[in-house]
């Protein structure tokens, strides 16, 4: 079983549209994991049935029992996040600021502070429209545990894939370079970076590749909208060659991506021409590349 993770660094490069198309091409050989938990969109194209759902608990927030509190102010002194506020005569926790470190609870002389575990989201196991299974999630508002939710989604996908002896886990990773991406990448067999030939796109790709290198992972690259700036596309190509990143394919600037999305379809279901062909060839190439590594 191979775990293939698709990332992009920058948002809006077409990562999710391309991953969803691969999901359709992989069919029942793959388990799909949507790890872009912060803005999970893949379900709009793959139509999962949300068959099984579970709450996700992670992290804590402090709560003060006003009956027990003797107003000594030690919690306020200890808190490094300015999350304890004195309002009139009482001490209160500012929920949005509390990091859940538990320092205040540890030192409160009368044990008036409880650390309460937080429900930060939900995760689901679904069947999608081609009957493959998909694990996905929804992060609650302002939650700071996206990395942990990503890890959970990946772990469940792995369990399903192992039990059913699937060939692939296909992961739609998160944008950026922070904790959710790090969680998305951990344990990957092959990383696909979807980029676009814009100065920001190239810059973000280089940053996220640095991260890929830190994990000693092998990667391939897909350049979307390669024709909006051929000069930068060439630069991306040489960057890939220099760093032994496989070049998987190029997609032209094409509003078909959006048209397919507007109908809730992946590109391979919507388009019978050029884009579909590139996607099919890309997926074949990815299978053979992951076999080599």
């Amino acid at each position: 079983m191979k775990e293939i993770v698709v990332i992009s660094g920058k948002g809006g490069t077409g990562k999710t549209s391309i991953t969803a198309a691969f999901a359709m091409l992989a069919g029942k050989n793959a388990v799909i994991a949507d790890c872009d938990v912060d803005a999970a969109d893949m379900h709009l194209l793959l139509q999962p049935d949300f068959a099984k759902s579970e709450d996700f608990y992670s992290g804590f927030k402090a709560e003060i029992d006003q009956e027990l509190c003797m107003k000594c102010g030690k919690c306020k002194q200890a808190c490094r996040f300015d999350a304890v506020k004195k309002i009139d005569d009482s001490y209160n926790i500012l929920n949005l600021d509390c990091e859940g470190c538990g320092y205040c609870a540890e030192i409160c002389p009368v044990k008036a502070i409880q650390m309460v575990e937080q429900n930060v989201g939900k995760w689901y196991i679904s069947k999608i429209k081609n009957n493959a299974q998909m694990v996905h999630a929804r992060l609650g508002i302002g939650a700071d545990n996206s990395g942990k939710l990503v890890a959970k989604v990946k772990k469940e996908a792995k369990n399903i894939a192992q039990e059913a002896s699937k060939d692939f886990i296909l992961v739609d990773g998160s944008p950026g370079i922070g904790c959710p991406v790090v969680s998305s990448l951990s344990g990957a067999d092959y990383v696909i970076i979807v980029t676009e030939p814009t100065l920001p796109g190239f810059h973000d790709m280089k940053r996220v590749y640095e991260l890929v290198q830190n994990f000693h992972l092998t990667a391939g690259c897909i350049i979307n909208k390669y024709d909006i700036n051929k000069e930068i596309s060439e630069k991306i190509k040489s960057f890939c060659k220099k760093n032994s990143i496989d070049i998987i394919s190029y997609f032209p600037y094409d509003e078909t991506f959006t048209q397919a999305m507007t109908q809730g379809k992946t590109i391979v279901e919507f388009d019978d021409g050029n884009l579909k062909k590139i996607l099919e060839n890309s997926w074949k190439k990815i299978i053979s590349l992951t076999d080599q590594h």
Binding site: G12, D41, E106, I141, G142, P175, I177, G178, D204
Partner: protein, 286 residues
């Protein structure tokens, strides 16, 4: 006045809007533009100012002092983030997991975990006439964006008078980094695309802003490409639609080269000017 520009989904034009708004407004009076998308800051490609200052940003991480430690294990017990682990003969600190809360350090009976500085990124300050551009950039390998976002906002607060208009380019998504980049703002602009992904992520962003009790409006970028569902949604929810930026392949090409769209494409300039006028009518801008 602080205006934060956010979006549920990445790549919808946050940076385009932030840089062009700041640039056009700075032709009349001083503006501060802060790039708080510290994981992947991109505003700097479009604002070509002169660098006037760079500062490294640190946070505090405990460092184990083998000589003083008696291996009591209290540090591991108090750390809620599993960032410090006591093994048989040593204590390990995992920098990436540490939230710098000081609990292990200050509660160690032997003072064997003094807090030391640890570099997480840098803040750079640029100047282009009336436009002051502040960029926060996270080091690759550092997983926590929030402390650097906080430092970048503090930097603008300490170095500039509060009378000057601030525009924040917030990170994408709906989790903690976005909250950090929007919670101190007076007004939030949510930018989206007229597509199913755009609408879905806009709804999440709207939920966040309502939860934070923020005043906000919506701008549609690449208007014309998808369908009218976003417009309908804003009408149904009575969310002010502040403007529409037209979809043009030319814009994608100019963006790719780092050109400021309001300089390169007249249609986009006039769309941004309309947005400014709209914000003035609503008294968000003077």
């Amino acid at each position: 006045m602080k205006i934060s520009i956010a979006s549920g989904k990445g790549g919808t034009g946050k940076t385009t809007l932030a840089t062009n708004l700041a640039y056009l407004l700075s032709q009349k009076s001083p503006v501060i533009l802060a790039d708080l998308d510290v994981e992947e800051p991109n505003s700097g490609f479009f604002i070509k100012g002169k660098e006037i200052h760079e500062k490294k940003v640190f946070r505090m991480i405990p460092e184990w002092d083998k000589e003083k430690c008696v291996l009591c294990g209290n540090c591991q017990r108090v750390c809620k983030f599993n960032a410090v682990i006591k093994l048989w003969e040593e204590v390990l600190v995992f920098n990436q997991l540490c939230h710098s809360c000081y609990a292990c350090s200050e509660l160690c009976p032997q003072n064997a975990l003094p807090m030391k500085t640890y570099e997480v990124g840098k803040i750079t300050e640029f100047e282009q006439n009336n436009l002051h551009f502040i960029e926060g950039k996270l080091n690759v390998g550092e997983e926590q964006a929030v402390p650097l976002i906080k430092e970048t906002i503090d930097f603008t607060n300490h170095n500039y008078s509060s009378d000057i208009l601030r525009i924040f380019d917030a990170p994408p998504g709906t989790s903690c980094p976005v909250i950090e980049a929007t919670k101190s703002a007076d007004y939030i602009i949510l930018i989206t695309e007229p597509t199913p992904f755009g609408l879905h992520d806009l709804k999440l962003a709207v939920e966040v802003m309502r939860e934070l009790k923020k005043d906000f409006g919506v701008i549609i970028n690449r208007y014309g490409i998808g369908n009218d569902d976003v417009v309908q949604y804003c009408e149904d929810e009575r969310i002010p639609l502040l403007g529409k930026i037209p979809n043009m392949k030319k814009a994608a090409e100019a963006y790719s080269k780092g050109e400021l769209l309001s300089e390169a494409i007249p249609e986009i300039r006039s769309a941004i000017l309309d947005i400014i006028k709209n914000l003035q009518d609503r008294e968000v801008l003077l």
